[in-house]
Symmetry: D2
Amino acid sequence: MGKQRLGFLSDFVEAITRRKRGGEAETLQALARPASERARVACTVLMGRIGDAARVAVAEQALSAYAELDAEQRLAFFRSMRDDHGVDPQAIREAYAAWDKAPDAAAVADLFRVVEPARQTLLRRLNLAPGATLQLVRMRQDLLAAMRADPGLAPIDQDFAHLLASWFNRGFLTMRRIDWNAPAAILEKLIEYESVHRMEGWGDLKRRLAENDRRLYAFFHPATGDEPLIFVEVALTQGMPDAIGPILTAPEAKLPEPADTAVFYSINNSLAGLKGVSFGNFLIKQVVAVLKAELPELKTFVTLSPVPGFAAWLAAQTDAPATELRTALAGDWPSNPGAVE
Amino acid sequence: MGKQRLGFLSDFVEAITRRKRGGEAETLQALARPASERARVACTVLMGRIGDAARVAVAEQALSAYAELDAEQRLAFFRSMRDDHGVDPQAIREAYAAWDKAPDAAAVADLFRVVEPARQTLLRRLNLAPGATLQLVRMRQDLLAAMRADPGLAPIDQDFAHLLASWFNRGFLTMRRIDWNAPAAILEKLIEYESVHRMEGWGDLKRRLAENDRRLYAFFHPATGDEPLIFVEVALTQGMPDAIGPILTAPEAKLPEPADTAVFYSINNSLAGLKGVSFGNFLIKQVVAVLKAELPELKTFVTLSPVPGFAAWLAAQTDAPATELRTALAGDWPSNPGAVE
Amino acid sequence: MGKQRLGFLSDFVEAITRRKRGGEAETLQALARPASERARVACTVLMGRIGDAARVAVAEQALSAYAELDAEQRLAFFRSMRDDHGVDPQAIREAYAAWDKAPDAAAVADLFRVVEPARQTLLRRLNLAPGATLQLVRMRQDLLAAMRADPGLAPIDQDFAHLLASWFNRGFLTMRRIDWNAPAAILEKLIEYESVHRMEGWGDLKRRLAENDRRLYAFFHPATGDEPLIFVEVALTQGMPDAIGPILTAPEAKLPEPADTAVFYSINNSLAGLKGVSFGNFLIKQVVAVLKAELPELKTFVTLSPVPGFAAWLAAQTDAPATELRTALAGDWPSNPGAVE
Amino acid sequence: MGKQRLGFLSDFVEAITRRKRGGEAETLQALARPASERARVACTVLMGRIGDAARVAVAEQALSAYAELDAEQRLAFFRSMRDDHGVDPQAIREAYAAWDKAPDAAAVADLFRVVEPARQTLLRRLNLAPGATLQLVRMRQDLLAAMRADPGLAPIDQDFAHLLASWFNRGFLTMRRIDWNAPAAILEKLIEYESVHRMEGWGDLKRRLAENDRRLYAFFHPATGDEPLIFVEVALTQGMPDAIGPILTAPEAKLPEPADTAVFYSINNSLAGLKGVSFGNFLIKQVVAVLKAELPELKTFVTLSPVPGFAAWLAAQTDAPATELRTALAGDWPSNPGAVE
């Protein structure tokens, strides 16, 4: 970067972290650059030597500039992310040589440090901004799209996948039952995200939340607030149903009859940007545990395998929750429900 | 591991994930092994090929077995963590050779994968258990103690430090004001953790939370619940006090007089296991922002530098929050409070 | 009441407050009486000498029996309420005579005690049951309907009105802003209760809750939970609109432009059983206060008087909130908005 | 009231409901009158023909003026409350005559209306102010003290008692378990209000809230917020203790052993101003129900009757909760615990 660029950088930091006395004009000029430039520069600044607190403001700037980019500009952004925030080859060579000579744990740690792409630090720093986690998940969704145009972006995705798997560790998730008392803003998302058995609207949704014979559970993450990451829909029935139709259309059971069967008839991931992060098994197992404790009369936990819609869809899926559901349901349940723990 | 050991392993998984039909005796035998063995074995199982949901139970078992260890046994546990869950040297050599030949981002990603010690995966899997995050923070506190006996454990600490910095990213923290309406269980911890200006008891604490002229803010993390990670104490005064004494002993200001000065007179980290994870600057900056918005009459934000207790303590500290406070206060504040953002 | 009746009574109390040892048959018999009889008897028991805690169970029984009555049976129930739980004429005569002789405050208090119909005590005791308050409000709604068939029931209504006005005192109400994060169970009621400008469905409702330029506030009572007692809808506009049409159909304002006008375009009472209890003025005044504090740019607070729909409806109404709104709006606002406090 | 007085009144309303243009001086003059005069006048204004919303401001004024009165002035205030806000004798005579002629329910209702002292309306209107309910409870506490000096104030107390019994109806109360996670502001009150077995401080309190073997439950009212109205303390033991000493001093049971006995060892009313309003029985019965559901191993529910402290105290008490506890415990429990419902 030439001298002029550096001058712009410092103006930029100045501009977005505090109001300059007497330099209003330059400040405005810095912030008036095109979004694609601001996004890239903010990332560079973020990796430089600025105070922790200034980083929050720079990260916000980077994300809001990114939000203005179109598909073409995002492609360029991701490429610069790959090329500008990678590794230092010379440092790798040296650390490898040291490890090769004395391959102990300390040498591994040194090697690990230089092999980790700077991008991972960049993503962690972008995450400093309020609300950043959800924006980063959406950024990864954009990346997955961009990879179709440029498969060479795949390495960045490994950084995203690595970080998101760590951040969305099951230990950080909370499970909530969603019923008709949930905020409309959450319910609206369920209607939008349900893709196994689509809902026709609010009436349909209300049916699927009916206290007497339906349940819906979702995982949430504290940093993504009211965004349901994955949700599973359960029907409580007497005996095993042999088709999905009645489950979707039957009126609510009048009395809370002691159902003996829990039918898992739909499971949906909400955020494409969390592809590969595995939630499904955890959710299903916890729902089984909760239902058993709450409704001791439940004896059988099944999915509706022979049914066209779901089973066909399930068989065709390759993403995580579907695979998990197949595994989970194939294994323990129908044959040996009592053993499910 | 010999065949017998493998048999024990499968009994163990069986034992802690489901009740075996007709094998009650073996199950009890597996769970009756000494805690040090159970802890190690559970970690091995956790890294093997078992279902996601079984992992939750195994992680719980590992952590509860770990909790029973004494200092000597913990030393052994950490050594096995270092030696059994490291890297595969052959895989490193191959990935390095591939990268050396074609040093692109994809080759870096492959190298990264094999250089990351298996311990990091182990820690992420231990974190699956309910309440695990706080237990892992305490495990690291034990590790820091163990490192005094065996400095060769340092590489494990780098894994802990790396993961905890990622998990306790500022984007995941929430700031809360603590006042007299906070749960006693939290307040009790403040009395325990305050080490800059000790509190004599509940009366002393209540004084420091007085609505009219005191504030206390803390960062919390969703996964560690009501554990205040770091907290800062502020006095609202008229004019700049020249000693800490009055701040600690003065009775509550009668009327909420429009204070013009906010004195940051104490900042404390609570969890030794989060050493090196930097919170202080973020907390101070956010408190400044909140106070400015709530009390526009505040013009000056200072610490009590020339005062024996705090300044001496601050100067002597080498850990993160103290350094941050020194930096934060040295920089913007006393000389130019209006510019703090 | 003959001896047989008394026997039934004690069985009844026995039946609904504890399980009788060895008298299962009689207990079931008592509970098997027709609902109309159970409702009346439970009221009698409630006024007798039983323990406080037993009263909770008897009150529940009375209300659940009442809930089974049809219109005809309710008429009979109200008549017995009027005739069986009135006053003791002889006691009135004596207290009056005493007061007439020495008309001091103590004599008034004695007279008051005997003039208050026993019904008021009955209603207070019915209120002991969980969730009773809302059921009593609905009972009064039934009463208002029954009075059309039998105007002689009016005196009971005075007891209801007296008690409900006391219980739903403004000091016990809390105002909440309702937005898209409110529970669907509440929002659904708004769609149902809105009668000034009907909503077509959830899309329509969401428009009326839009953050940028709409507000909806409601009063709630702790004992009736999520039941909005009254709600008012406000549009934030630039300049005074001259028709209701655009307010109902305009898309959400893109940016939160600094609106200068708050248009109160609809106000609705939800519970017919609270007829005569006045909420409207309190709600409107508090909304004005909240909006002024939150949005200082608001200068004008108006209703849409010359508009067909609302003004015509308002003029035609005789119930409390409409009258209040007329008064409130007629007085302070359009001519002299700055003076509204 | 002469003309001058009326002028003052209207200034007063003006002063406290809105800022007068160009009459600042008169306004300040009105508000500068002595508190005793302001309190009385505000009550008069409150009973006059002003808008609903203005009443909120006038009620606030009345209560804040009242709060400034000393004991002597309060005596005068209560006398004027008795004498200025009573009944209209002529109206009583007429309504009585009408009823005497045709003693139907409608005539009773008319008579009731004129016999109810205006004070009750006054108290209901004072309750319009935010936070008024607790202030009225404290006002009644003052009244009980004043009645010792002037027994002629007793009739007012009947109005207070009548209204408070209606407002603090059990249907409006919520029971909460208080543990160590409760706000310090609530816990502090328990230490203050406990008078059966005094607590020495926070350590003592913490012991009484210990999860393993102690319970504390309280009733709260929505309008008095975090004020515990009454609370009961329970020890969970194995076998029936024969003295209070061990209960107060024993360390926490190590493991949550399945206790078989619940010992109710203390019950306290918090607010003297709620004298005569009966809570104790309701609280005890509900605690018994909650404990039975939560801890099915509990078989015996007792108090410590033969113990000096509590039993002696209980026997000596004449107020409501003590009497209730005596009754409740005498009746169902020790002899036949299984029957308690």
